[in-house]
Symmetry: C2
Subunit: 245 residues, 2 copies
């Protein structure tokens, strides 16, 4: 089964590099030998997932079907989508659903507002847990032990001048998020971006998070708390009541 | 490299079945032996792409990253997204980009309108070529030989009472689509759905198609032609001019 693991690693490295790649480049990006990468790309090409143009390989749309497999088989995503869309229509802001996966928040569903300045996120996007509202809600839902392990192994990078990079301070913030049942993150991920998130509960505690992301120069932090948070909480209750995630 | 092929087949069958599956069900869906499916699911679970709950396996969000690999590495998708969004903001209707892949149209980018009744399509969705506006534009862009081969091997299913199921008639329609440079499909895929599509040109002819999909009870076919088609053509020219696809 090693060739499956290697093939998936090669597929994924196209997402990280965001461009067509030569065998040598994919070998550098994955840490696999050139011979190994060449065999993988040959198989992926034969199966229709990749195509060769000169020395470069690129992925074909068929690769989309692999990601779609998760989206179309997930009960959580199916139930969340109409709820996110309703919320988006009510608030005229983009709403997302995220889950924790390998120390990141994965966007798994999204309803986008029709603003010209929109935020480039979609199902499959990944962001750091520590600097995002959904990430903090998800971290706050972990056991004490798991939260501490995360804080120990994660480098807290100052993505903006506002990013909390002190472990102790982040730990205190997470405790408050757990108590209050929401996280508000103000330009810690990117200047101009402000968002609020709440947990979605499943059988085993926090199963996911939903958020509303807005532009800081359009929506004040108070608005997020007073106007958006109650609507977000309602949506989360509706989704949590649908179980079973 | 056979285990890579088998593993990808197992991943994809989750998309087709749209639910958690047992080893026996996945074996039935893929035609692979149970032992083989069990080994694949074991590896996928170890790698974090799947999770076992009782006798059932389901995919994890990490599988999304595989589809995202195509989206984030595709020049066409990157260039099309802002153009689709602009078109959506102008017309207040959902706009999509599709490509031909294994006798289907694959949605690879989409800008959704914020209507309450929305059409459940997203990147990764696949639809039959013969009954969709993008599909007909893509078929019309094929060589005479490829078009004939497609018509020979494809069963034209009457998806609604309006679906063209006669090979000769479809062939005539495709010739007109090629001449006029657009396809208008009126409730042949689903009752209530009307759409118009135009080609996007790459170095080797028709590289993709963009369309606008609307509800038939809201937008008349004449509107699609008179109001939407010129905007769609403009967007297609902009995108085609960006090459190189």
């Amino acid at each position: 089964m090693e060739s499956l693991a290697r093939g998936l690693a090669v597929l994924r490295c196209f997402a990280e590099q965001q461009k067509p790649m030569t065998v040598a480049q994919a070998s550098g990006a994955t840490g696999l030998s050139r011979a190994s990468v060449r065999r993988c790309l040959h198989t992926l090409t034969q199966l229709g997932y990749a195509v060769q143009e000169g020395p470069h390989y690129m992925l074909r749309p068929k690769a989309l079907a692999l990601g779609y497999a998760y989206l179309s088989s997930s009960t959580l995503v199916a139930k969340a989508q109409p709820i996110l869309e309703q919320l988006r229509d009510e608030l005229h802001e983009s709403c997302s659903l995220g889950v924790i996966e390998e120390d990141e928040v994965y966007y798994v569903a999204r309803a986008e507002s029709s603003r010209i300045i929109s935020i480039a996120l979609r199902p499959g996007s990944r962001l750091p847990l520590y600097a995002t509202s959904m990430g903090r809600v998800l971290l706050a839902g972990l056991s004490r032990e798991d939260r501490e392990a995360y804080l120990r192994r994660t480098r807290l990078v100052p993505l903006t001048p506002h990013t909390i990079t002190d472990r102790g301070r982040l730990d205190t913030v997470l405790t408050r998020v757990a108590e209050e049942g929401f996280a508000l993150v103000d330009q810690e991920l990117e200047i101009g971006l402000r968002s609020v998130a709440v947990p979605v509960f499943g059988r085993k505690g926090v199963a996911a998070s939903i958020n509303i992301g807005t532009q800081a120069d359009r929506i004040a932090a108070t608005d997020l708390r007073v106007r958006f948070l109650p609507a977000l909480r309602r949506a989360s209750r509706d989704l949590s009541a649908m179980g079973s995630f």
